[in-house]
Symmetry: C2
Subunit: 348 residues, 2 copies
């Protein structure tokens, strides 16, 4: 069965296509009787307006694009869920693309989405994105762009983030409060802003507490889909290099879970010998042994806020109102679990 | 900056829109010189063909729809990744919707996708989908439909599945081979075909091994986003009801992980007192303690195969070839880990 067209309806009723089209849109120059006939037949035949033609007229596609580095990832899948939940309420569909942390792929995908005439784009950058021309292209086409989590400070658009530096500071402060004196950091790749900010928060907490910062205690993880293995490897290397380390602040939970697995295998006691704090609060962190103290990063909320801001900007453009870029900073909290000791001030 | 249109190019070169359009499409009735001028200017101005107009002409949207019950879910996010990886290769974009295991929402989403004129739909059904009219509507509109994982046997379309019954049989047989004699089953909801099949596989393995089937040992989990809690609750209830149970085959890993957490809390030894086999092989299952023996369900492969079949059917329709529905059955394997004992025949 081929889709029913306006001309099918026109033919059956022996009227013009224009009349059918006008009747369906309730134009005043079509008689109520004709309107009723057309609408009834359209219903009976299960007529669906051709979305391409509607789009061509309204210049809206009612779809938005979302580019994320990885899908099989607790944080990003929570963000997707948040975006879709809001988009659905406003009648928007979401096209999802995965950049695989590749700048080249990300550029291509931006192009695909622009060609697809999406009404706006939400993006979290790939680790190796170093140039922002593709993002500025979106903006110069007057298409709403929202960045979240892995953002580029230099690109002028709305952003939904957390205060990574403060969250990392608090996480490190917690290690210090529980008695750790020699604290290592497994950081993310060198480029992403959030990985830089988490590193700076860690460093500042040390300095503010009179603990000298030692660059040898900072290990880099690419934090891609090999995160778990990287965490294991780094943990083993850390033990070999510095057997006096008593705490680690780790850039992301999956790496921390790898480190825990390595320490469990080697019989290193957590938190007695080494305390660990992760970042993101993956569900997994609450079920491993020991459970992981971590920064709760509100993925679902981030997704919701990102879509809300996008929708606001779509409306502003549609109504020829000035567009206001916003930086939305969501709250995080430290979830204290078994991988760290009780804070000294709280001890009896 | 507004997008550049055909008419912008026409105006600048002082030629007709038709000529510009023909030049870009390499029509023979436009001179090579004009073609070169038009193409150069189009490149300079960063002209992008209007996808709505292209779609209206080709009747293709180069987008497909994907409806899944939940996104924050290791198996389904792996499937998404598989679908997107293939779609990208063929130049298709993927619109993703989450039915939240709701039949009502699923119906609405099918409608949205049809109205959006996607070129095809891939779906895994919601737990409470009892009627298949919305799916038959897709088929009667001659739009390719592929079902995977949670399918409806009665709907005539291609399907990508695993042999759930055999996989469950093998999982239960493993428990029997390791010495378990009183084996419980935490099954999924009553309706989904895969949950029925896994139950039947469990039952058949018992009967084939001369172990009487006891309906009191079968507990139901809805397997929604409360799965972990359900697993915990069922495990505690099972201990109260039947303290002689020595093995459990559990419909999905997240429920099994909940059960492990409950047994760990209660000091019930796994696998010595109770052995556990899960289903799906979530990443988490390899890092919890004890690690979980489970059926490896190839999510990424399922996604890839689903898109490949969809693409094949899109081509068949486009070329007016007969469409052949296929049932693609992917292989599973049992991953033996710490939550079950060594098989008796393998013991020294």
């Amino acid at each position: 069965m081929k889709p029913v067209t306006l001309s099918d309806i026109a033919e059956r009723l022996n009227i013009s296509i224009t009349t059918v089209s006008k009747a369906l849109k309730d134009y005043p120059d079509v008689s109520p009787k004709t309107k009723a006939l057309v609408k009834e037949l359209a219903l009976t035949l299960n007529y669906r307006p051709n979305s391409f033609a509607v789009n061509l007229r309204t210049k809206e596609s009612k779809t938005i694009g979302l580019i994320i580095p990885v899908i099989v990832h607790h944080f990003f899948s929570s963000v997707i869920k948040g975006i879709i939940s809001q988009a659905e309420k406003k009648g928007y569909l979401v096209i999802i693309l995965q950049s695989n942390e590749s700048y080249e792929l990300e550029k291509k995908q931006i192009d695909l989405l622009i060609n697809q005439r999406v009404d706006g784009i939400i993006i979290s950058l790939a680790n190796d994105t170093v140039d922002f021309k593709h993002l500025n292209d979106v903006i110069s086409l007057d298409k709403p762009l929202i960045m979240f989590d892995k953002i580029a400070k230099l690109v002028k658009c709305s952003k939904v983030i957390i205060n990574d530096r403060q969250a990392a500071y608090d996480a490190t402060q917690h290690l210090i409060n529980t008695g750790c004196k020699r604290i290592a950091h497994f950081r993310g790749s060198l480029l992403p802003q959030n990985s830089i900010d988490r590193f700076l928060g860690y460093k500042k907490a040390l300095v503010d507490n009179g603990i000298p910062y030692d660059p040898n205690l900072v290990y880099i993880c690419e934090c891609d889909d090999k995160s778990f293995e990287e965490g294991k490897k780094n943990a083993i290397k850390l033990l070999e290099d510095h057997d006096d380390v008593d705490g680690i602040f780790i850039n992301t939970d999956l790496v921390a879970i790898g480190a825990i697995a390595a320490f469990n295998d080697l019989g290193v006691k957590i938190p007695e010998t080494i305390s660990i704090v992760g970042f993101s609060n993956w569900f997994m962190s609450s079920v491993i042994s020991p459970t992981l103290t971590t920064v709760d990063q509100p993925g679902f909320e981030m997704g919701k806020e990102a879509f809300k801001q996008l929708f606001k900007e779509i409306r502003q453009r549609k109504n020829n109102l000035p567009v206001t870029y916003e930086e939305i900073v969501l709250k995080t909290s430290l979830v204290k679990r078994e991988s760290t000791k009780t804070e000294l001030t709280n001890r009896v």
